[in-house]
């Protein structure tokens, strides 16, 4: 066949999202957790664009565009926060940043 069933794109997006969630929950390094968040955002972008193809409308592309812009802004601020945390704690382990825990 010369055409791809659309459910394959959506399943791929679900797989990438699940992998992003796995990285977010199971990893201890802050930067890796942050990268898993970016992976989740990419999976969601793929879903938006797939549905934009399905409904033959350009609105999905616009949503994906805004997701990209927001992700870029969030990456900038998040990495600045990570730099500050590293300056104060000298570690990138999430479990070590627990001074507000009882």
């Amino acid at each position: 066949m010369a055409a791809i069933p659309i459910s394959w794109f959506l399943t791929l997006s679900a797989v990438l999202f699940a992998l992003g969630v796995a990285g977010f929950l199971f990893r201890r390094n802050i930067v890796t957790v942050f990268m898993s968040i970016e992976l989740m955002l990419n999976a969601v972008n793929l879903t938006f664009i797939t549905f934009s193809y399905h409904f033959k409308s350009v609105d999905g592309h616009l949503f994906a565009f805004f997701v990209m812009v927001v992700a870029a802004a969030e990456a900038a601020v998040g990495l600045a926060i990570i730099l500050t945390v590293f300056k104060n704690r000298s570690t990138l382990n999430i479990d070590a940043i627990d001074s507000m825990k009882n």
């Binding site: 033959k56 870029a72 730099l83």
Partner: protein
């Protein structure tokens, strides 16, 4: 031809995504994430989203990930140490994730049966002109608000990361 392209780049994307989650050193994760974004850009091209594919490579893979790589190189913290991992979390979490994935895949297959298909060239409305037109008419308000958001992010990042003026 479409199917072969999709399969190649979908497999590359999944392998790189697994690499992001599994690798110990953050630099390897970052480079694998660049691989994921690159293969996703090609999948966007298959779906007719030519401008978004280019924007993905320029903005996401070419700027955001370079920022990540800079921070990782500057911090130079080394590979992650395998300690303090809770076995219960893994024992519970992995089956739940697989169940989530199975559920989503099942419902997607139910909603979009095999005959709803994607071909390269099936959607030609993803040109720069179409996106520009929609961006500056229907989506004018989100556009302006994201401009202010980016400005806030710039100011925030500079304030957080500067040296103290003592």
């Amino acid at each position: 031809m479409n199917v072969i392209l999709f399969l190649i780049f979908a497999i590359i994307a999944v392998v790189c995504a697994i690499n992001v989650v599994v690798q110990t050193h953050p630099i390897s994760s970052a480079i694998s994430l660049v691989g994921v974004m690159g293969s996703l850009a090609i999948l966007y091209l298959l779906l007719g989203a030519e401008f978004i594919a280019a924007a993905q490579v320029i903005v996401y893979a070419g700027a955001v990930m370079v920022l990540f790589i800079f921070v990782i190189m500057l911090l130079n913290a080394g590979a992650e140490v395998k300690q303090g991992r809770s076995v219960v979390v893994h024992l519970l979490g992995v089956p739940l994730l697989i169940a989530f994935l199975g559920l989503v895949a099942y419902f997607v297959q139910r909603l979009f049966p095999r005959d709803v298909e994607v071909t390269f060239g099936g959607f030609t409305g993803g040109t720069a002109q179409a996106i520009g037109r929609a961006l500056f008419t229907t989506y004018m308000l989100p556009f302006e608000i994201t401009s202010i958001l980016v400005l806030i992010a710039i100011v925030g990042a500079i304030v957080l990361a500067r040296k103290e003026m003592d």
